[in-house]
Amino acid sequence: MTELATSPDMGRGPEKQLPRFDPGITEPIWKIRWKMNMRSLAQNWEIFKESRVGMSGLIIIIAFGAFGLLWPIMINFVWDPLIYHPVVGFDPMLMHPSPPVAGHLLGTDPIGRDILAQLMFSTGREFLLGMLSAVISVVVGTFIGAMAAYYGGFTDTIFMRVADIVMLFPFVPLLVVIGSMIRLSIFPFAIILGFLEAFGGITVILKAQALQVKVRPYIDAARVAGGSDLHIIRAHIIPNVLPLSFLYMMFNVTAAIVSEATLSFFGILNIDMSWGMMIHTAETAGYLFDFGKFWWLWAPSGFFITLFCAAFYMVGRGLDEVVNPRLRKR
């Protein structure tokens, strides 16, 4: 980082200026920035810790992460891939679908694959899908929102009209149409979802936030000091809308997982295994008509989808209290 945002004539080189200003700072500026960021992060963490909803969400997410990380260990060292592979595994010693027994803690599905292994394998994939689409949507959305707010005029109009139309798109019907004609696998699906969400509501919300930042005095100060447009957007506007975008990232993870599960449930996506796919398997094999008897076919995956989405949503609500000071208790 060469540019020093606070004062324009410090760019000539710190060793010359130190005696003249003598601010008493010997640390390089990036270190100070780092410390300030860390301090504000610590403060926000303190606020976040207060919210019980947010903390329980975070704990659930960490638990899911640990569960997902177990998968490579289990399949490489503990389980026999021939029996426990989530897609092609088969246990010849049992009648399928088998209720929970010693070797299969959550039973097996109608074609003899272990439910627990499927759950574990899918966890990592769901994380990947949710995070990828959320990161894409938030990065693109933040950048567009900041640009629209900063430049205004034509840029603003174009992106806002696009947002109007994208917000109009009913996502699931649209994805049903796309997915039924192209076989979507997990990466294209995450990217399509991310961009759909990026150009929609998230742009509008982040633009509203960026508009509030834009009129602050320090933006004028930065402009007077000779900061370029791109620099102001990158160094001043985006960091100030970042908490809000982070909040929406959490909500977008929920949306992505729900869309994936729904489409997998209908058998439209080209995904070999996911939580929605597990319910799809149970449903197409006809075992969902007797819920109570074959509970292990639908309950674990259904519960996981709900819990996983709820966890991200809860973290989002906890972050909401960080971002919106008026929601806090006192």
Partner: protein, 424 residues
């Protein structure tokens, strides 16, 4: 936020509220309103055109176009195939095809469905649209109302057991995997308890000897329901605005409502349609409940948040200091001003509730647009899928428009340029 409660209905019950505007202001308001509406209609048409263009190019970009599906029959000889292609206009350049697609849409010609072969797409969609609208409007109104009422209660009792319980239950339903949720509800209420009918729109055994078609009955049912809703709304509006609020006038309003509903039932009975209407309503209960369960939590949690902001306002404290009862302060002071952000988000969430509608319709075999779209997409019925997607878009556009206009009527602070005048 401006404390707009002085205008938004008189808080003290016995007082007759002052008229909202003077005559001059009213005139000016009507003129700006008209201009605003015209602008919105212009935007509506433009957005519709862009949307249709996007749907068209999406369909063109898909592998395997209409001509292949339609003309793939190997028994058609080559010459006839070319001739057919020419008749269908598929040999022309894409831009002209696009133009004729737009023209055909506005003249009501959406082609012929492959899967319901001789029926035109327009015919199918027009038949299915009212069913979707009824499901969608009922479920959205119900979930909004439930969310609104619950939200203001749990915000008022922040941190209490009710708050925590409702938040947990709300988040669970909000993030629940709704195909599974609807399956569970079907299994529970229709299969195990055997209380409600199992899916579909009507009971064929009952309708086989019916002198009417289900569409006729359904049309009259929708018409009757709208008339009832309008009448009840008018009764309560007159009661709120024009009459003194006493126990007697309240009783009168309720009696009149009961009278209207009784009259409607009597008319239905006299024409012999009552059992059929009841049959359709019975089939509606489960889908509507499912959609409500999925959607109410969004409104509830948002209402809670926005209410938490308004309860800190000075005018709420003033109202409490005046010694008004708790629920009056809550309902008339805090909740009314907390309503606006909730309505905004309702407008924004229409599209996502349409997505939920597709899933619900498919799961409950409710023959609406969503189910048609799903089946057409799965069965590669391109004309029907295109038509259904465009219809969904048109429907959402109109819903957005209605919600926007309602919002502009609701909030006197909106300057009709599209931006809220006072945002705090």
């Amino acid at each position: 936020m401006i404390p707009g409660h002085a205008r938004a209905g008189g808080p003290s019950g016995a007082l007759r509220p002052a008229p909202r505007f003077g005559r001059e202001q009213l005139k000016a308001r009507v003129i700006t309103m008209r201009r605003y509406m015209l602008g919105r209609v212009g935007q509506l048409v433009l957005t519709l055109l862009i949307y249709m263009t996007m749907v068209y190019f999406l369909m063109q970009a898909m592998p395997g176009d209409i001509s292949q599906v339609y003309l793939a029959n190997p028994r058609i000889p080559q010459a006839a195939r070319l001739e057919l292609k020419k008749q269908l206009g598929l040999d022309r350049p894409p831009f002209f095809q696009y133009l004729s697609y737009i023209k055909n849409f506005f003249t009501g010609n959406l082609g012929v469905s492959f899967s319901h072969y001789p029926r035109p797409v327009w015919d199918i969609l027009v038949e299915r649209l009212p069913r979707t609208i009824v499901l969608f409007v009922t479920a959205n109104c119900l979930s909004f109302y439930v969310g609104f009422v619950l939200g203001r209660i749990i915000a008022w009792q922040r941190g209490a057991t009710v708050d925590r319980m409702a938040t947990v239950v709300g988040i669970t339903f909000w993030t629940a995997f709704y195909p599974l949720l609807s399956l569970i509800l079907i299994w529970l209420f229709a299969f195990t308890l055997n209380r409600l009918p199992l899916n579909q729109f009507i009971e064929p055994a009952l309708w086989i000897k019916a002198p009417f078609t289900s569409n006729t009955v359904f049309g009259y049912m929708v018409l009757g329901a709208s008339v009832i809703a309008l009448a009840v709304f008018l009764i309560f509006w007159v009661f709120r605005r024009g009459l003194r609020r006493t126990r007697r006038s309240a009783a009168m309003a309720w009696a009149m409502t009961a009278g209207v509903i009784g009259l409607a039932i009597w008319i239905a009975h006299a024409t012999g349609t009552l059992i059929y209407i009841w049959d359709i309503i019975r089939h509606m209960i489960l889908p509507v409940c499912t959609l409500t369960l999925i959607n109410f939590a969004g409104t509830m949690l948002l209402m809670r948040d926005s209410m938490l902001e308004t309860v800190q306002e000075d005018y709420v404290m003033a109202a409490r200091a005046k010694g008004l009862p708790d629920n009056v302060v809550r309902d008339r002071y805090a909740a009314r001003n907390a309503l606006l952000p909730t309505v905004t988000s309702l407008v924004l969430s229409l599209a996502s509730s349409m997505s939920g509608g597709l899933v619900t319709e498919t799961m409950f075999s409710w023959p609406g647009i969503g189910q048609v779209l799903f089946r057409a997409a799965i069965g590669n019925d391109y004309p029907l899928a295109t038509g259904a997607l465009v219809f969904t878009g048109v429907f959402l556009l109109v819903a957005h428009f209605v919600a926007d206009v309602l919002y502009a009527f609701l909030d006197p602070r909106i300057s009709y340029t599209g931006q809220p005048a006072a945002e705090g």
